[in-house]
Point group: C2
Chain length 302, copies 2
């Protein structure tokens, strides 16, 4: 039995359009409606054909839905929720895909008092944005974290779990604050650091931009992928999850200062010990199926 | 005409064994000898068959060579050079593949007075180590930087250039100090940061190691690849290129502190501006053929 019959997706970028495409494949009888604030995105979504109906307003997309998924930057969740409040069916479940959860829950509860809210975070994506970037298999084998607020009906959580499992994801439940801490280290801090170093490299005077590009295969290019992620989405994440990000950043900075000191004082043993430990983490990630085992990300060497 | 007829490779890990395999394919008449300080590596190299002769001492590997390439960690260059000094033919060219150049030149010149030294740095590699990890196409389309010391014979530099071009690399000449600055930002600092954040994540109390692994697809896993690189090689690089690494690290830390402040004060515009600039760097790297354009490094989503 399908967990939902009529799904509405608000925000038709990489994630929203991937969910729609995945629903088309895994639950083909589900009726899919959607909306995006950008008229050009609505037009392209229409042409791409991953929805049954693209509506001109957010409200019109939800009138008949039993699941509404907000796929917009976390800073826009509150205002988007307000824009659907009048049209939302009383028995619809409202979910989202935001990368930070405590602030999103607060925004949704304020905008939609009395609604059933089951927040979700599919830990999946690419560096590309927009409705053209989505694809149906994006969530296969990836984790989707649900953070139901205290008092949320268990049956609603189980329906959202069934939905994500049908799209190929593994589902885990987590308390919102803990989610925000976990993702601060596994996602938010890595993005912040990648953005920073790409900026640092661009601003040097002694090393030209063209040299940075040419010799990027020494390691730098890995960081540029993440630093090509959607600017609006990530601006919002850092501000929405400020406390946890600043906490993790503080720890990172302390550790970096310790390594800086080890380099200055030729403390090779300290460096060697760390570099040996980190190698084991990579092995675990591959063993757990969370990354490809092919060397160099399987980059082509033709 | 082949630039060299008898090539000797000292150090049979990822890079040394890749050079040997590439020579076998691109210059099959070249006689290849080699040595590794580790008897187990010598045995495996023999079995893998990428050399005509694996010798028990470094000296025995170079007696007849017209090109000797030292493929050992940069901290070992001096002692390895000393170990071949007595057997090195007077007209042989000595080269290396180290990731830092000024300190390597100093070590080689001290150990091999009067020898023709043409240092090289192929900017290529994977996170794997050892003779099994090498492959012939590793240098295809990658850059190899030569840093001939002042007074090095131009003809020798041109022969080493022809050698690397025959292996499929693009060759660039650079002054050693400038090389060390360029690589500090495009390679050494990225490795240092990756090692640091993987260490930070492993040491948290509030977030378990298993959570870090499970949710690593949010960005963290990208860093673990680089942080799985050879510990000995990288320990040596940071100490050998200390000044340039500390200089780049200082700039990075300043930029990170500025972003930390922007997050603390909700300065979304500053974040957005940087995140937009960094996206352009990624585009340039793809346009210049220095990375794959497939999203998410072309990771499989089966």
């Amino acid at each position: 039995m399908l967990p939902f019959a009529r799904v509405s997706i608000i925000g038709l970028g990489l994630i929203g359009s991937s969910i729609a495409r995945a629903v088309q494949i895994h639950m083909p009888t589900v009726r899919l409606t959607g909306h995006d604030a950008d008229p050009s995105v609505r037009e392209r979504a229409n042409a791409l054909g991953f929805l049954d109906d693209v509506t001109d307003t957010a409200g019109a997309a939800v009138t008949d839905a039993d699941l509404v998924i907000l796929c917009v930057p976390v800073g826009a969740m509150g205002s988007v929720a307000e824009s659907i409040a009048d049209d939302l069916p009383a028995d619809a479940i409202v979910s989202d895909v935001g990368s930070s959860k405590a602030s999103v829950i607060a925004a949704l509860e304020a905008a939609l008092p009395g609604a059933t809210i089951i927040p979700a975070h599919p830990v999946a994506g690419t560096e590309n944005s927009g409705p053209e970037a989505g694809f149906a298999s994006l969530f296969h084998g990836r984790w989707c974290i649900l953070t139901p607020p205290a008092g949320a009906p268990e049956a609603a959580t189980e329906r959202v779990r069934a939905f994500w499992e049908a799209l190929g994801a593994n589902v885990e439940l987590m308390e919102a604050r803990h989610h925000d801490l976990v993702l601060a280290i596994t996602s938010h801090l890595p993005h912040l650091i990648a953005y920073t170093i790409v900026g640092t490299a661009s601003d040097l005077e002694e090393v030209t931009r063209s040299e940075v590009i040419k010799y990027s295969a020494g390691g730098f290019r890995d960081f540029t992928r993440i630093a090509a992620s959607d600017p609006t989405m990530w601006r919002d994440v850092f501000i929405a999850n400020k406390d946890a990000v600043l906490e993790m950043l503080q720890r990172f900075s302390e550790d970096l200062t310790a390594l800086q000191r080890a380099i200055r004082w030729d403390d090779g043993d300290r460096l060697f010990d760390l570099f040996t430990r980190t190698r084991a983490v990579r092995r675990s990630i591959i063993e757990e199926g969370q990354d490809d085992e092919r060397p160099d990300f399987g980059r082509s060497h033709e």
